[in-house]
Structure formats: C-alpha cells, structure tokens
Symmetry: C2
C-alpha cells in the first residue's frame, strides 16, 4: 500500500480524515507511523497528496490532508479478457489496475470454463476489492470499470464495434508472426484469450472487425505474465 | 503444461518414453489424450519435438518421440533480484522462466526480510520445481540457473563486476526519470529491488559499478508485475 485511498465519508472536516478498519490496521501493522509522520494519500477518483498524522491509536488514525496533485495518467487501453480462473483473475486485476488500465471487459470464450462465471469474486464490490490493491500499489485513485459479458457473440457483434472505434484493435494469439507493436501513440483495444487461446471461430470474429493478430513471440505465456508484458510493450 | 518435459531416465528405448507420476496425472486429468494423439514434448536441456501416444492407462503413458527442433532462444538477460517473499518468488520464477530468463541471482538487500532466507523453497530441488512450470508453459527445455547470495556487499563487490562485463547494466528504481530502454540488442544485467526499493547506499553501489537507473514510470509496481513488464520493454 504505497497510497492510502480516502473516501468522502472519511472526512471529519474539509482537510481532516479519520480512518478505521483495514487502512488503520495496515498503518499499524506495516507502516508503523507516529504522529507527525507523512503518508501518501489520494481521494477515490480524485487528486493525490499528503496526509500528516495528527493522532494514531488502535481505534483510529487521524490525518490533516493536502490533496494537490493529479493521479497518474490512465493507460489509453481497453482490455478485453477471456475470463480467467478466479485466482488468476485476482492477480490480473491487480496488475492491470497498477499499470493504469481503466476499462476491462471480461468476456466468455469457448475455452473459458463455465464454472468461472459463478465465482463470487465477480460481484461488483468483490471486483473493486480486487482492484483496490492495484491502485494503492501504483499511487493511483481512479477506479477501473469492469464489464462482465458472459455471451461472446452478442458482445462481439453488438458492443465491440463501438468500443474499437478510433482505436488500434489487437488480439493476442501465441505464435502469430506479427510481434506486438511498440510505443503506440493512440488508444488500443487489446483482446487476450483464455488458457489454450481463442478458437479459430473467435479469432475470425475479431479479425472480421479489424483486429490485428499479434504475439509476444514463440513462447505461450500465462495470462498473468502476458498482460503486464503486452502493456509494457505497447506503451 | 504446453510441453511435457522428458528426462533421460524416461527413455525405454531410443525413441520411446514411459511416464508416470505428475506428468501422467496431468495427461489424464487435463489433456485427456487417447492412443494415437500427439503431444508437444522436450528433453530437459535438449531439443523439442512431438510424442505420439502408443498407450495410456492409469499406470503409465507411453509415447514414440521425435525430437527435431531447438528449444526457443534464451533471453539475453541476467536477472539480479532482491529476494521477494516466498509466494511472490514462486510467481516471479515461473514468469521469468516462461519468458526465457536463464540466470537469476537472488540477493539480499536492506529491505529484504531476514526470514525469507529461511524458506524451504530456496532448496535447489524446490527452486527447480518452481521453474519447471515456466518451462512447460513456454515450451522450453533449458533449466535456468538460480544463485543465492545472502550477503549484499560481497556479491556486489566481488561477483557483480564480472557478471556485468560486456552487458548493459540497469537497476530498476521507481520514479527515476530515465524510462526503461526498448529493443535492446545486447545482453542486459537487470537489478530489481525489494518491496520499498533498494536503499540509497545500495543504489550507489550499483551506480558506482556503472549501472544506469531506469524505471517503468511514475507508478511503483509489484515485483511480479514489473519483471514481465521490464523484460517485455527491453527485448
């Protein structure tokens, strides 16, 4: 937690906050600060700044805060991700959020196991809980939007054309000859398949909309590895 | 497991192998192949090829193998990594191995918790067990070498100068102005610090040897995210 995320309801006055629960526990167990110490803070979906501790006890952490900087720039990318298994989803949400992705569409594909869609981790609050550590890690405040699209065909035919308008649309497919482009200076829509990849029908659907097939080379990588790799290659 | 790794002792004849244990279980539970099916196989530290199943039962999987391709090229990179916590180490070893890293030095640093060095996961066999899924994922066969260096100063002063000779030596440090270089065409030595980063004394030691400080930008990232990101940016 490199930044403590603040909510409107934390404010006891215009520039003073009072924290309890998870953030207090983290401060006491990990940061171990004393009155007078400064911590990096940020308002959810708002600016970033500094909190100076006025009091800390097992009951509450109180700070005087100055929020005077913008959050880091979002990554100009929409991530279309075949729903991974829950454990992997958690790690991909965290790493994507920490790298600045602000829109993630979790979609179905032939090789996505049906049971993954029943995971309680896909609830709106549970998704935000998984994204939060990514924001705190990267000193960011802007909560990403996550869309769930459990039907492949309606998503691709009805929604995807609008999503990719004015973007560079790429679908990652291991062993494709074209390497992932570097230092792209426009918005990217990046589709990444499930373990085992998209099936040919799915790839054809993406290609028919104008997606280019790209890869990180000959080595098939896990989704948790390929996501940070592709984002770092693109921007 | 995109490739089944074979050992010399698996060979019942010059071109026939017989597998039991973990690999047989994986074949039965996940791949569910039948006699006549082909699987990608590779000989540990040797070539890659194809195995055709001649028989499969709960007791053993037998294949006729043809090993006729080279393993994918190694990444020209030596990774110097401040020892992460065991759970994170496992993921970093897997992703590094899958991306083709062949030499990893796990080193001490002021912000590495002493207890991490006592982890049973640092035993030679346990390290190989953690690297293996990375090789199987990426259809690679060449086992990376992992060195443990629990003393920072002797490592940096006595060993590191030889390691960085004729390489581009980089130390990752969040918030550094210089962005990680792209498409490097020479061998790289890349040092990555612990959670919280290297302390100034450690950075000075790296810089005094000729390391350049680089970063992935303003966002501090977790080691499991920054490793694939930096490797993808560099090559």
């Amino acid at each position: 937690m490199n930044l403590i995320l603040l909510y409107e309801e934390d404010f006891a006055g215009p520039n003073t906050v009072r924290l309890q629960g998870r953030r207090l526990k983290h401060a006491i167990d990990v940061l171990r600060p004393a009155a007078g110490d400064g911590l990096t803070v940020g308002l959810l979906n708002g600016p970033v700044g500094r909190g100076t501790i006025t009091s800390i006890s097992p009951d509450a952490l109180e700070m005087a805060v100055v929020l005077d900087r913008e959050a880091p720039s979002p990554l100009p990318l929409t991530l279309i991700l075949a729903l991974p298994r829950p454990k992997m989803l958690r790690r991909v949400l965290l790493s994507s959020a920490s790298m600045g992705v602000k829109k993630i569409c979790l979609i179905n594909a032939a090789r996505v196991e049906k049971s993954f869609w029943k995971s309680p981790l896909l609830g709106k609050e549970r998704l935000q809980e998984q994204l939060l550590p990514g924001l705190e890690q990267a000193e960011d405040t802007l909560m990403p939007e996550v869309l769930l699209r459990p039907l492949f065909k309606p998503f691709v035919e009805d929604e995807l054309p609008a999503i990719i308008t004015n973007t560079l649309a790429l679908v990652a497919h291991p062993a494709e000859e074209e390497n992932c482009p570097r230092e792209v200076d426009r918005h990217v829509t990046l589709a990444i398949g499930p373990e085992g990849g998209f099936i040919p029908y799915e790839i054809e659907k993406f290609v028919s909309l104008g997606f280019r097939q790209i890869s990180m080379g000959r080595r098939p990588l896990r989704v948790e590895t390929v996501v940070p790799a592709l984002l770092a290659r693109l921007f």
